[in-house]
């Protein structure tokens, strides 16, 4: 009976692992095969990898898309980290009844579905397009602004600030640091792990964001990676080897971030719920 249970557990987990990994293996195998072989269900690595990559870079504007996505993800992440940690710190260290109420109201914004505010946001950015083209429709700035401040990250930083030793704030004040000095000189260096975790989540969210860039970006040269892949995926005569190559390249940054910083990643996820 005990042995049967063991066998069942291992079989079940192995099946789950295979199902989880299979699409990745298929992607990796497909980038080395010709489109015809992919459709014929070939599951062995081929010799077409370099050919696929050449075609990809020659026929698809993947480099500009990668650059756009990188610019957006990096700026969004920096802004998010700075603004959300300032706010999380402010709400927790400089606590007051008024701020607690405001904090609760801000949290409510986490429940707002993006689809509900997409149209007003689009109209808002549309109305400033002429006066401020840098943050108007079809600009990278317009992609960044609404996603750079989210209540989730403020909540995240506040939760983690609960672990921050408050004596350090006092110590900083005694050393004659200004309130903002305490934040930059003491809080930031102490909270490196929290910043790392937030950076990973923010970068991944931004890199993978689809709906808002789809709404606000119009010209092909502004396209981000998810828009490009979505476009490739809906073509009528897809070259599977090439599309899979684009998908693998698009997934590499987030996969790398995950594998290099696995601990921070999980810590970050947990940090958002504990306390």
């Amino acid at each position: 009976m005990k042995k049967l249970q063991r066998i069942f557990i291992y079989t079940f987990l192995s099946l789950a692992a295979i199902v989880s990994i299979f699409p990745f293996l298929w992607m990796l195998v497909s980038i080395t095969n010709k489109s015809v072989d992919v459709t014929q269900g070939r599951l062995l690595p081929g010799t077409h990898l370099i050919e696929n990559m050449k075609t990809l870079f020659a026929t698809v504007d993947i480099v500009p898309a990668l650059i756009n996505s990188a610019i957006i993800a990096v700026i969004t992440t920096i802004l998010t980290l700075l603004l959300a940690s300032l706010a999380g710190y402010g709400f927790e260290i400089h606590r007051s009844r008024g701020k607690d109420i405001v904090f609760t109201i801000l949290l409510l914004s986490m429940m707002i579905p993006f689809a509900a505010i997409m149209v007003p946001l689009y109209r808002m950015f549309g109305s400033i397009s002429d006066t401020a083209p840098l943050i108007g429709i079809d600009s990278l700035g317009a992609v960044i602004l609404p996603t750079a401040t989210t209540a989730f990250f403020i909540f995240f930083f506040r939760q983690n600030t609960k672990m921050f030793p408050k004596d350090l704030v006092e110590a900083g004040r005694i050393d004659g640091l200004s309130e903002i000095g305490v934040f930059f000189r003491i809080y930031m260096p102490t909270m490196k792990t929290t910043y790392a975790a937030a950076a990973i989540i923010s970068f991944m969210n931004s890199w993978n964001n689809y709906l808002w860039p789809l709404v606000i970006l119009q010209s092909p040269e502004k396209r981000t990676i998810p828009l490009l892949i979505s476009n490739l995926g809906s073509s009528y005569s897809p070259d599977y080897g090439v599309i899979m190559s684009a998908i693998v390249i698009a997934t590499l940054p987030t996969a790398l971030v995950f594998f290099l910083m696995q601990k921070h990643f999980v810590a970050g996820m947990m940090g958002s719920v504990k306390g």
Partner: protein, 315 residues
């Protein structure tokens, strides 16, 4: 100046308890409270502009109608139109189906995996954990396109089923109203189960092992242990994951657009996709689109309250 006179615990006290301070201390605390607002003010303004203000705008828009920028107030016409709009009914039904099947399926699977992986005697634990979590590194668009090809008429799933004799002819999964929904539910479950599992695994590590020991001595089997100990212990985290999953699935967009694009017909269209189509694909009708979007808002609020109630009841 103010530093030495500040009591250590002062910051933890509510404002009302701080009145006994001397005048000098008071100025210090007052100044610090003002400075405190400076830390949070940019975020407050940004969230107001990019979240709350658009919410109000959308609410006003939901009572307006017209093409593009030519909008005028039409009272409750949009709200009435909802009930006679077959596409909206389809979108609402589909989204409800995804929600009712996918969220429970995923949460049960994730709980099950986490309990199995929490067994200290289990081998290859690290491998299983990483393997099941791996789908989370993919972008929603990327994995959707992969799933579209996997389940295509000449896709690998069809060939697999054919070769092993499960089916006698290929199934056009994505062109069949039933199978297309199944593929979408499978896809979301594939992407998010590992993510939820990580939360449960971490929570399980905080559960005292001696409780299970005691239960075993009392003669409770593993199924009883699961329902009597594990589930009650993990209740807060189960609540958290079911609320976030519910909000996520209610807004589902990326997968639908990239796997089926709402088809065949409107068999898989979701509310978010319908809002997008109303605003940017068809002749833009921002007013009606906002009305439809408020349906999601109402659903999110109602379902969150219900989930809180259900979780709170058994305490």
């Amino acid at each position: 100046m103010r530093e030495q006179s500040t009591k250590k615990s002062e910051l933890d006290l509510p404002v009302s308890l701080r009145y006994k301070e001397t005048k000098r201390q008071k100025t210090g605390v007052f100044f610090r409270r003002k400075v405190g607002w400076l830390f949070v003010i940019i975020s407050i303004i940004a969230i107001s502009i990019f979240n709350f203000y658009p919410m109000v705008q959308a609410f006003l828009l939901s009572f307006q109608s017209g093409m593009g920028a030519n909008l005028e107030y039409v009272g409750f016409d949009n709200w009435q139109r909802l009930f006679g709009d077959p596409t909206f009914i389809a979108a609402l039904t589909n989204t409800s189906i995804y929600l009712l099947i996918q969220v429970p399926l995923m949460i049960v699977l994730a709980l099950f995996f986490s309990v199995l992986l929490n067994d200290p005697k289990l081998k290859f634990k690290g491998f299983f954990r990483i393997a099941i979590f791996l789908p989370c590194v993919t972008s929603l668009v990327a994995y959707s396109v992969v799933f579209k090809y996997l389940f295509g008429i000449d896709g690998i799933i069809n060939q697999f089923l054919l070769n092993f004799g499960f089916i006698s002819q290929t199934i056009n999964f994505l062109a069949d109203p039933f199978w297309a929904k199944v593929v979408i539910i499978l896809a979301i479950t594939w992407r998010w189960t590992g993510y939820n599992m990580i939360f449960y695994l971490a929570a399980l590590q905080n559960v005292d092992k001696s409780i299970y020991e005691a239960a075993r001595i009392d003669g409770a089997n593993s199924i009883q242990q699961f329902f009597q100990i594990t589930v009650p212990m993990l209740k807060p985290i189960i609540l958290f994951t079911s609320i976030t999953s519910t909000i996520g699935t209610l807004q589902i967009f990326d997968e639908i657009v990239n796997i089926t694009n709402g088809g065949p017909g409107n068999a898989t269209i979701s509310i978010s996709q319908y809002i997008y189509n109303l605003s940017f694909e068809y002749t833009p009708d921002f007013g009606y689109a906002s009305t439809v979007s408020y349906v999601i808002v109402i659903l999110v609020v109602i379902l969150s309250i219900i989930q809180f109630r259900v979780a709170g009841e058994k305490k």
